[in-house]
């Protein structure tokens, strides 16, 4: 398959791994920002190919993981209303709120549907004029253009039974927050390629300078990730801290201007709480005043009570790269994908779920034992 097979080619991947082994002379800790990158790393066993000097820690770029508890509770409450069809991307449905997930709401009679695009939700609104169609808009800059487009179209066509529950977050403020923490271990970032496809990478230049940290815009295939690691290690070894673009086949320096314009037309920057991390100023998007009538929070004003938190889950530390999933005492025992304590154990992009499903440690050359089954 074009644009995939060449980036999964055994020889090319092995050669790039060899190049990393040659250039890494000291221990370095790199963070891949996006959950999609974490998924590839763990699913393809890429860590097996890296030298011991390189530690990859997993970033906050899992949309499902960072959506606040209160917002999930709100989505569940909206989904239970008889007039509502609540639409969401698939892996959002399993994420636990304080007492229930959207799957639970569905089992209790709520009309909850998986869609592949917010424009599909808009189409549902057109074809169900007597129902209220609510799209649960989560994610980073990657999903923002299509979400903006859906609201923009709804306003233009006066589709009055469509609204959006917005929980959008932005990557650069989260990277700054991670770097500002006194416990930060991250020495270089593999920035999220698809976020940069939309936004470009100019906004990373001041972060790289301020914190003296290399940032490499990186794709999602095994060869992309290894090349991103190689480009970051080359900088670290030579004491440089620059923004470089590994994912040049998709990302331009200035990004996708029409997409940025549509986002800016519909959304404005606001403070957002990140699940497991806390509130970060100017780290999210909400609908602008002109589009406020499409805001599901306005349309369905629901009192959400104080959410009760588990003390055991260390999701916040995992999302900031300060702990690995298997360093959590509940990992694979009290916390599994069937009984998750925290959101990173739910989505396939979540670091804990990725470790649970694909994680392994080598006992010796021949025997690979699952961390997940160690509980037996």
């Amino acid at each position: 398959m074009k644009f995939l097979d060449e980036y999964r080619d055994y020889s090319a991947v092995q050669q790039m791994a060899q190049a990393i082994r040659r250039s890494a002379t000291r221990p370095w800790t790199l963070m891949e920002v996006c959950g999609g990158q974490t998924h590839t790393i763990v699913k393809t066993g890429l860590q097996d190919l890296l030298p011991a000097e390189i530690t990859l820690v997993h970033g906050p770029g899992c949309p499902v993981c960072v959506t606040p508890l209160e917002m999930i509770d709100r989505a569940v409450a909206v989904a239970k209303r008889s007039e509502v069809i609540l639409c969401s991307f698939g892996d959002m449905l399993r994420v636990p709120g304080s007492t229930q997930s959207l799957f639970d709401a569905k089992a209790l009679g709520g009309d909850v549907r998986i869609v592949y695009s917010p424009l599909d939700a808009l189409q549902l609104a057109r074809s169900n004029p007597t129902r209220e169609v609510v799209f649960f808009a989560v994610g980073f800059e990657t999903t923002a253009p299509a979400n903006a487009m859906a609201v923009w179209e709804a306003k233009r066509e006066k589709v009055v039974n469509f609204s959006m529950l917005v929980s959008h977050v932005l990557v650069p403020p989260a990277m700054e927050a991670i770097l500002s923490s006194p416990d930060c271990r991250v020495q270089a970032f593999l920035a999220a390629g698809h976020v940069c496809m939309v936004m470009g990478y100019e906004e990373y230049l001041p972060i790289s300078q301020k914190f003296n940290v290399p940032i490499v815009v990186t794709g999602f295939e095994p060869l992309d990730l290894l090349e991103g690691v190689q480009m970051a290690v080359a900088q670290l070894e030579s004491g440089r801290a620059e923004v470089k673009n590994q994912y040049a086949r998709a990302v331009r320096r200035s990004g996708n201007r029409p997409a940025q314009e549509r986002i800016a037309e519909v959304f404005e920057v606001t403070r957002r709480a990140w699940r497991g991390i806390g509130e970060i100023p100017s780290s999210g998007l909400r609908l602008r005043e002109a589009y406020r009538s499409f805001d599901a929070e306005v349309r369905f004003p629901i009192e959400i009570g104080q959410a009760h938190e588990s003390r055991e889950c260390i999701a916040g530390l995992v999302l900031q790269g300060q702990r690995k999933p298997k360093e959590c005492p509940a990992f694979g025992t009290r916390c599994t994908p069937d009984t998750p304590l925290g959101a990173p154990m739910v989505s396939s992009e979540g670091a804990c779920a990725a470790y649970f499903h694909f994680g392994r440690r080598k006992e010796d050359d021949d025997s690979i034992v699952s961390i997940a089954t160690a509980r037996n």
Partner: protein
């Protein structure tokens, strides 16, 4: 920055979720905690595709399955094809020659008679191809809105021709793992119709009777240790069930497992892993290493398993897990699916 922690959700086990039907961990939990504990008996407990019963000195296999697929007609087949082939295949996986099937229909008020006729015709045709008669049946009609057009249940009995027990208990270290063809076509065909997706090169369901391929193995005297059709949960779930019951480790190589280009493309687009996608005409066979080449040759001589490959090996290791050597040379655990496969966000 303040650190919050994550919430403790109520485990989702006090109510049936769709994921309980997904063929993964929740399905297994449901079967073991509700059904096995209530119905407990020696024929049920192996939890194979069918039960093997002794009768007058011979052995019979018995199985049942219910079909609830939407849409009722899809590229490559209908719910009727699935209902016949699925039950024939469950018998085949017990090493049993299909003897007869039953068919039970739950019809929703308002279902078009033409739709019903065409589905029944496809069942009749599939039964003729599989050389098995449908000898008894039942019909119920439910109010509009209480069914999804049509549900079908089939049960089957077969005569066991396998000389020894065919099941995970018989799998041995060193056994070769043979997969009967390319994976993921059925699940992808259904999803593409449901989502209105079109791909270059139509993806068709692989629904087919597997009995001719299985019969060829037994007729030639191959020492078959275990057979499993790769339906819900796909290859990964089947291998995990077998590894866990056999208390052995199975290793498979990603590059050896065939997935056709349109299915790969669709799975990339939909965020699915073809190793977990359902098939309706594929199976995995465990045979001793010395018989692997002969078994592959026999399987490849049959239409439904013409694309058979050697995918992996069984190892002495009581961990009961499945590991995959990935295309790029890494390793990972090929785990059981938790709930349904859900499309990722980005």
């Amino acid at each position: 920055m303040t650190i919050q922690s994550c919430p403790l959700p109520r485990p989702a086990t006090d109510r049936i979720l769709l994921a309980h039907g997904g063929g993964g961990r929740l399905t297994n939990h449901l079967i073991e905690s509700v059904f096995v504990s209530a119905f407990s008996n020696s024929a049920l407990e192996p939890l194979h595709d069918g039960a093997v019963l002794s009768a007058n000195g011979g052995r019979l296999a018995m199985t049942t399955d219910t079909y609830v697929v939407q849409p009722l007609v899809f590229p490559g087949g209908t719910i009727g094809d699935l209902a016949v082939n699925g039950t024939v295949n469950d018998l085949a996986m017990c090493g049993a020659r299909p003897l007869a099937l039953s068919a039970g229909f739950v019809l929703e008020e308002g279902l078009s008679m033409d739709t019903l006729r065409s589905i029944v015709a496809s069942m009749a045709k599939a039964a003729r191809v599989a050389k098995v008669p449908i000898v008894t049946g039942d019909t119920k009609v439910v109010d509009k809105g209480k069914g999804d057009g049509l549900f079908v249940n089939t049960a089957g009995i077969g005569v066991v021709i396998a000389p020894k027990l065919v099941g995970p208990e018989s799998v041995c270290p060193g056994d070769a793992v043979l997969v009967s063809g390319d994976l993921g076509s059925h699940g992808t065909a259904i999803l593409s119709v449901r989502n209105g997706l079109e791909f270059e090169g139509e993806v068709k369901s692989d629904t087919a009777s597997l009995w001719p391929a299985v019969e060829a193995l037994f007729e030639a005297g191959v020492e078959v240790h275990c057979l499993r059709d790769l339906t819900r949960g796909g290859l990964s779930s089947a291998l995990n069930e077998i590894a866990s019951l056999a208390r052995l480790r199975i290793t498979v190589e990603e590059v050896r497992i065939p997935v056709c280009a349109p299915v790969r493309g669709a799975c990339e687009l939909l965020g699915l892993d073809p190793l977990y996608v359902a098939n309706e005409g594929r199976f995995v066979a465990f045979v001793p290493e010395r018989e692997a080449d002969h078994a592959l040759e026999l399987m490849r001589s049959q239409t439904a398993s013409a694309g058979a490959v050697r995918a992996g090996t069984v190892h002495e290791d009581s961990s009961g897990i499945v590991t995959l050597r990935t295309r790029v040379g890494g390793h990972r655990v090929l785990d059981m699916l938790s709930g349904e496969q859900l499309p990722r966000i980005c």
